[in-house]
Symmetry: C2
Subunit: 212 residues, 2 copies
DNA sequence: TCTGAATTGACAAAAAATTAACATAAGCGT
DNA sequence: ACGCTTATGTTAATTTTTTGTCAATTCAGA
């Protein structure tokens, strides 16, 4: 299917395009040129055209791009036209925060289960979902055809749990634990290393200081 | 001071080096070669050497790198040798989750205040810090010499609050709101767009499907 | 102290990503 | 219908990033 390998750099920019197109659409704007988008988004028009053409010709010469159409197409490319069933593993603060984000649901990311090791939080209800003990996780994932597991547990147990998840047939892991997961190639892992991000900010703070 | 411009690509990799070096150090390992690190971290030895040499010659020919020394040096580069004073703006689930992460404190990121618009949560105590009303934010930031503000509020108010923060003298913003902040160049912004990350995962799930 | 093995730092080459340029196609006004 | 303008898609050039190579330096052992 996929002819050429598509770089993650391009993929990373798609959600941002989607966001701006959504805003334009909500403002009732129907068409947009790469140059106009360029001005708004602060990226070169050339990059926008190049990125979009990686996936196909969505525009029309002399006209530009139809906002609604392009929005939908990018959504499809990102797989937002289908539903994803997720579980949260780790009902701590972060896990709870994610479940409560209603925006994910609107995009088709449906939280179906929450699991935690701690018996004290099991049984508790978060955003309408009952927290279950870890032991029930494997069966739950299989029975509910869970696509994605969100890992919000400490790094000490993350590697072990990730292996379990992979064995249960989860296709993707959204990993907030501060470790690199080494899993079979067909399992997709998307890392969110918050402390890395904060350190990067810290670096950039120091570097502007030095410029003086 | 800064001779050559250092690319963000290199900076992004530093926290990961730091993490692995920390692990080696904790295991009592004193020296490591770029080749050994390469094997562990799954990056080329060449890249490791290149990255490190961007900041100086930390190694020794024929010997390799001293784990503890390199760890400390990378820490300094990332600004972890100094303390940072932060405030959280937005005492929702995510804001609370971040405050409760003790790992940040260990790295010198000290949460000093939490602010929220909602009168119902004001006065509440989170991780030993009292949530204050937004009105008190500007004075608090000035009086406590806050470096970094963590933005965990909805995007509707994020742009406006970010402007305020910039005006109060905050030097960096760790932005979890789903908007791009357009601020004066001396203010560093580090974005954590969670939904972008999830969409990327979604894309990669679809793309492995197509490969078959 | 000398010799061989190991390993960096620097430079060169290759690959990837970004930007620029332009021919081509569509729209728009007359 | 015709020509002018606009703006894409594509190819080429440029820049950046990554990888490969190797001389120079240090360590370790005899």
């Amino acid at each position: 299917m996929e002819e050429k390998e598509i770089s993650q750099a391009v993929v990373s920019r798609l959600p941002r395009y989607l966001r701006y197109l959504g805003e334009l659409r909500d403002e009732g704007i129907e068409r947009v040129s790469s140059q106009e988008l360029s001005d708004i988004m602060q990226v070169t028009a050339s990059q926008i055209r190049q990125d979009l053409n990686t996936f196909g010709g969505f525009g029309q010469q002399g006209y530009g791009y139809n906002v609604g159409y392009l929005y939908d197409e990018i959504g499809k490319i990102l797989g937002l036209n289908r539903e994803h069933r997720l579980v949260i593993v780790g009902a701590g603060n972060l896990g709870q925060a994610l479940v409560n984000y209603t925006n994910f649901e609107r995009r088709g990311f449906l939280f179906r289960g929450i699991f935690d090791h701690d018996p004290k939080v099991c049984g508790k209800e978060i955003h309408g979902i009952t927290v279950r003990p870890m032991e029930e996780m494997p069966d739950f994932i299989r029975e509910n055809q869970i696509d994605i597991a969100v890992l919000t547990i400490p790094k000490t147990s993350a590697v072990e749990v990730a292996k379990q998840l992979a064995a249960c047939g989860v296709r993707g892991i959204w990993n907030f634990a501060h470790v690199d997961l080494r899993l079979p190639g067909h399992i997709q892992v998307e890392n969110v290393h918050l402390s890395d991000s904060l350190m990067k900010l810290s670096y950039n703070l120091s570097s502007v200081e030095d410029e003086s």
